[in-house]
Point group: C2
Chain length 322, copies 2
């Protein structure tokens, strides 16, 4: 896809128009128990109820829908074993084109099936022997497909930002917004929207302790690569911030909070038992940061993006069950 | 409490007014996956998001709020080890009075704590040696408290019926409404509202196979007592239909579907993995009936009351984990 202009509030608003009636306008949940535990009013944007079970559909659909008609007609592609795979597959189906998704051959059967279930063709590769980025480029060139990147594209970032836009429309001004950081697309888009609407808002990212590439990069003032992190938060197991997302986050973020896997599990349990919702590990990290006291001086009104809920009951049992 | 006039749509509407701003107006969820599995449009009234985690708050609050001021001031009481305990405790707190809840001394600590957490006094009894109904009457008489029955009272029934009223306001006409049956209060109130608003609607109850007292009673044309059922659906482990609820259900119900514990567990898993919500066993029975094909000739537009989500992560793991 073409190179990037910076992302603006208008880009997020345009994405919101494209997503109208296509993505779900997910609910904002509140809990008196949570409020009294945190000592603040907390508003949870429940993206676990988004189509495909996570926010990723917003960005993938926005990006795909902006392709020229002839380019779109040839099809789109993605490499992902996670939520972006399903997001791209569903975006293609909704836009009447084909999707080819490159996934590791040992990806869980459930993820393969979910992706083919949306009508996508899945091409597998050997995770240990092949470079997936090069493979994806070759596959796309070969078949005339357009790659939809998982985060590092302005249209993807603008699409993800609609989550924060909707949240703020529903809640009015907030003092802080807490968002998971993986490749940085969700928080970059959210920060663009939130800080443009409410200049005083603090935007706080959350990374798993083991996957603190964005925190380190912010401290260094430049993108840092860390060893591939081992964490239960698979949506955040990235080793480098995005090329396009990082400068945006460098400009707009106030802080990064880190959470341990145990704190994430505790937050998943809290979401299950008190909020009655299912969150995947990455989706529970902002709640984990609040519940574990990892956010310094939590202000009065706090928005949280609970980014997804794609976890099987068996995996949940493994993580949360005693 | 005083003897009963029959419950009417107006009673349900009056209850809805009393509950406005007090109970949550819970969301109605839909799922394309569910629709294609069932071959119908299914609308899920998510009472797991209700205050205290289940529909019971509706009836308890409505009943308590209708007591004369001097009677209310003396306090209310309930005997329950389940959701009605917390519902009565919270209703008392919201109405500025006290609640005394009679619970078996071996009730789970989490349930005791949840109830005292709402400010109620808990009095325990020996489940195997004492008759709880007699004890509750004595306790209430002794302390001047008014017993709030869990289902067998017109104001409780009218309160529960607001769940169906809200659902139908949100969805418009439905061809069928599927509701769990325990003591029969939720379905009686729901059937009153639904059949008055849409005379052609089929109201279908769901009982666990082991707890089919209402099904048998409907077949016999009179209230039948069965052995105390063993089922994971603890909210439906009753042995006799209610004295007041049964005649209403006899008049208004089309059928009772039975579901096995395994079918309930499969529905809980489906709710978790596909809908991203937590349902307790009783709350999952209507979904179980649909998914297991226990509803004959499912019509085009079906409402389902998912009545509650009070289950700990550990118990969920025990039931659903492999």
């Amino acid at each position: 896809m073409a190179a990037a202009p910076p992302v603006t509030l208008d880009d997020v608003r345009e994405a919101a128009e494209r997503l109208q009636g296509m993505a779900h306008r997910t609910p904002v949940l509140t809990s008196r128990t949570l409020n009294s535990l945190v000592g603040a009013e907390v508003f949870i944007k429940a993206e676990n109820f988004q189509r495909i079970g996570a926010f990723k559909f917003r960005g993938a659909y926005n990006a795909a829908s902006r392709l020229p008609a002839d380019q779109l007609a040839k099809g789109i592609a993605a490499y992902s074993s996670g939520n972006h795979a399903q997001a791209t597959a569903l975006a293609a189906r909704e836009l009447g084109t084909r999707a080819v998704i490159l996934m590791p051959e040992d990806a869980p059967r459930s993820k393969l099936e979910a992706t083919t279930g949306y009508g996508a063709e899945v091409v597998t590769y050997d995770r240990y022997g092949q470079d997936r980025s090069a493979l994806a480029q070759a596959l796309a060139a070969d078949r005339g497909l357009t790659l939809i990147p998982p985060y590092d594209h302005p249209h993807v970032i603008a699409g993800q930002g609609t989550a924060a836009l909707e949240l703020l429309e529903d809640t009015g001004p907030l003092d802080a917004l807490i968002v998971p950081v993986g490749g940085g697309g969700l928080i970059a888009g959210s920060a663009v929207a939130a800080t443009a609407l409410h200049p005083g808002i603090r935007v706080i990212g959350v990374e798993p302790e083991a996957g603190d590439d964005t925190k380190r990069s912010l401290e260094q003032g430049a993108r840092v690569t860390i060893p591939v992190p081992r964490t239960i938060a698979d949506g955040q197991a990235l080793d480098t911030p995005g090329e396009i997302t990082f400068p945006i986050n460098q400009r707009l973020l106030d802080a990064i909070a880190l959470v341990s896997d145990d704190e994430i599990v505790a937050a998943m349990r809290f979401a299950f038992e008190r909020l009655k919702i299912v969150l995947e590990p990455s989706g529970a990290t902002p709640l984990a940061a609040l519940l574990a006291g990892r956010v310094d001086n939590p202000p009065r009104r706090i928005g949280v993006i609970a980014s997804g809920g794609n976890i099987g009951a068996d995996r949940f049992t493994e993580l949360v069950g005693r």
